[in-house]
């Protein structure tokens, strides 16, 4: 017997200028089901979710709840139909309390004569939280909560509106393993109450752990939809990517076996700051040193200390065995150290400026005659970089705002290439970039190392780290817990070192 699904989306189509975001997509969700929605960046997951949430409208197609066709024209409509969405960036107001956030927009429920009865609001809030099996002080301002606690508040907020369908976009992105298990407990509890959950994620292991069904989107089309028991990770990746991808357990070495003695290019001695505790590290010429660890382990902090973006409390830095002082990014760049920041948009690029201007930003002295910028030198330098890195842009004078994530990253990389730096630190270089450009960037990183530079690569993508690194240094709690050479590096070993509480 086929039961009427709780939610049925049929033939959903959505156009954006120049691209077909969704092409006749069918998606069903049953009651008491955790349904994973997977796909690469740009596959259409967010678009589908936004249509369900009433944030945007589909160009064609229909949506049914319990078999009855409905129209979702605004987020308020979606709420009325019992649809709740939890986005990656939580929509909570940091200065307001947990209870106030949960009932944001719905205060009328507790008002009497224009005044809000806060005691009643807090009581209701506590009730909802206990439904989830959670105890969070409802009087605390949200800014004082941890990321996982905020997520619980977001879920509770959705529950306040009698939610029957809950969509969660990359819910475990910033959570520790323990917090992820906690979240799974909450999700399973919701399922037991009959709520249908759409779980959008990149993380394949999690999907196999939590989901009942899985649907794969690729380039706006629904490729496959089946029970989780009927799928395996290899098939899943293949459906997502569209071709057979080898999940390398032991990748080929990225550089030829070099028997000459390794030359030290960078040495860190006893670096200390608020979040980094007595770190010693050596980087060799031609090496890619991976830096692994969980969120909060101190990797980005260490990178910023090396680059002079933050002040260190103490420590020595040696470049080519000579001690140097780095007190600002300017000092670092002069010495030939570069940093590709974690957030390329907020910290790397000046979005209003052109591709050319962004690329030459750190090397203007080299292409100037005195105070004046030599436009010809600039043009030549930039076209060479654009050619080498294959930056896709209408012209070098287009603003970087219009470029895709992958091309933006290439612009940033181009900037550092132009500085002829000896040491380059990458912080999450391929975050949010699709697989084709990702591999291009991997190739570029390998080439940079081959040319004799020292590369430090921070990444939360373990397969990426394992594939590219000659050695992997693992950080936990601001310290280096271990350094694994390529031959000995496995995901489990790295994870063990990353969760080592010493």
């Amino acid at each position: 017997m086929i039961r009427t699904p709780l939610l049925g989306m049929r033939s959903i189509t959505k156009h954006y200028p120049g691209v077909l975001a969704l092409d006749g997509v069918h998606f069903d969700l049953s009651e008491a089901e955790i349904h994973a929605l997977v796909g690469e960046n740009g596959a259409g997951k967010s678009t589908l979710t936004k249509i369900l949430a009433g944030a945007i409208q589909a160009d064609a197609g229909s949506i049914e709840i319990d078999g009855i066709p409905i129209e979702i024209r605004t987020p308020a409509d979606a709420r009325r139909f019992g649809i709740g969405i939890i986005y990656q960036d939580f929509k909570l107001v940091p200065e307001l309390t947990v209870a106030e956030n949960m009932f944001l927009g719905d205060e009328a429920r507790f008002s009497r004569g224009g005044f809000i009865r806060f005691s009643l609001m807090h009581r209701e809030a506590k009730k909802v939280l206990s439904r989830l099996g959670e105890e969070i002080e409802t009087g605390l301002p949200v800014k004082k909560l941890s990321v996982s606690q905020r997520q619980i508040v977001e879920i509770a907020k959705a529950l306040c509106c009698q939610v029957r369908i809950l969509a969660m976009d990359e819910p475990t992105a910033s959570l520790t393993d323990h917090e992820v298990q906690n979240l799974f407990g909450v999700i399973r509890k919701l399922r037991s109450e009959g709520v249908g959950i759409i779980y959008i994620s990149h993380r394949i292991e999690e999907i196999f752990e939590i989901a009942d069904r899985v649907s794969v989107l690729r380039d706006g089309k629904m490729i496959q939809s089946c029970a989780i028991a009927e799928a395996n990770s290899h098939d899943l990746v293949q459906w997502m990517v569209g071709r057979s991808v080898e999940l390398k357990a032991h990748p080929q070495p990225s550089t030829e076996i070099d028997s000459s003695p390794r030359q030290e290019i960078l040495r860190i001695e006893n670096f200390r700051s608020e979040l980094v505790h007595e770190v010693d590290l050596t980087l060799y010429r031609g090496e890619i040193l991976g830096l692994a660890g969980l969120v909060g382990a101190g990797r980005t902090e260490l990178a910023r200390l090396i680059f002079g973006a933050d002040r260190k409390a103490s420590g020595k830095l040696l470049l080519d065995s000579q001690e140097v002082t780095v007190r600002s990014p300017r000092d670092a760049i002069k010495l030939g150290i570069g940093l590709l920041t974690e957030d390329r948009n907020l910290q790397g690029l000046v979005l209003q400026l052109s591709v050319a201007k962004n690329i030459t930003l750190s090397s203007l002295a080299a292409i100037s005659n005195g105070p004046f910028i030599n436009r010809t030198k600039e043009r030549n330098a930039v076209s060479e970089i654009v050619r080498q890195l294959r930056v896709k842009a209408p012209s070098m004078n287009t603003t970087v705002e219009t470029l895709s994530g992958g091309n933006r990253q290439k612009v940033v990389l181009g900037r550092w290439l132009l500085t002829h730096c000896k040491v380059l630190i990458f912080d999450e270089p391929t975050a949010g970039i699709d697989i084709a450009v990702k591999q291009e960037i991997h190739g570029l990183i390998r080439r940079l190392a081959r040319e004799g530079r020292g590369i430090i690569m921070i990444s939360s993508d373990l397969p990426e780290l394992l594939e590219l690194s000659d050695r992997i240094a693992v950080m936990c709690g601001g310290r280096i817990t271990g350094i694994l050479p390529r031959e000995d590096a496995t995901q489990e070993r790295v994870m063990r070192l990353a969760t080592n509480y010493n």
């Binding site: 990014p329 920041t341 910290q347 000046v350 209003q352 400026l353 750190s362 203007l364 100037s368 105070p371």
Partner: protein
Amino acid sequence: MKNLLQSFGIGFALLLEFALFAALSPHFFTADNLLNVTLQISITAIVAVGMTFVILTAGIDLSVGSLMAFVGVVSTSMLKLDLPLAFNFPFAILVGLLLGAASGMLAGSFVTRFSVTPFIVTLALMTIWRGLAFVYTEGRPIWELPEAFAVLGNGRTLGIPNPSIVMVVVFVVAYIVLSFTRFGRYVYAIGGNAEAARLAGIPVKRIVTQVYVISGALSAVSGILLASRMNSGQPNAGLMYELDVIAAVVVGGTSLFGGRGTVTGTFLGSMLIGVLRNGLNLLNVGSYVQQVIVGVVILLAVLLDQWKKR
């Protein structure tokens, strides 16, 4: 229509004004009157160039009017010293310029080293310089200045008013700096994303300080020119001038959020407001009504700019 506006924007509005006033008044479109307009806008336009630099870095300088007055009274007081004129003249001007630059240095340091918001720093300086101008002169204007001084602001060279010449020179230099030099590039980068600029190795603190120094120095130039035109050092000179200056910059398309704008735009903005005032004068529109009209036009010009950006 929208395309036309997008390509010419303020320039188009200016042409409209020209056409309008040329039609309404026979005296408008004469060489004499137009030169007059450039003279009338010169004082605020020179300061507006400095303000453009500051606003491009997402800052603001409210102290310009007061600084003009303070520099005016200090410079003119130097001229009353019992010293040979050949020395006195350049000395007075130099002192004035250094004073303006020092004010900028002070403002810049507070903004960069102590991270005080520019609004508050320059607001404080605005009050301080105004107060000091009155203290220094004991509230009385400085009269009876050497005749040669008045030539600076009131004289003409090759038929063009001196202040207009200074204005053109200032604009040309500013244009070259912003479009062709590293410094100019850095100013735009800092305004667009100060943190990214810092991480790209740009000496943000130094450049921001220099930008306020430029504003201070140009305010000093205008302060001296103004004192020359009035042939006296007045402690209440330049009252509320900062508003006209900021209006010219914003009308010219420079964004208060930084990173976007040009001195060409500022020049057109100054012209737009200047031509408007001049035209309304020729039509004998009362000064209070003029005030209202100018305000409305500023609002419209900014709205137009916003619409153009969509």
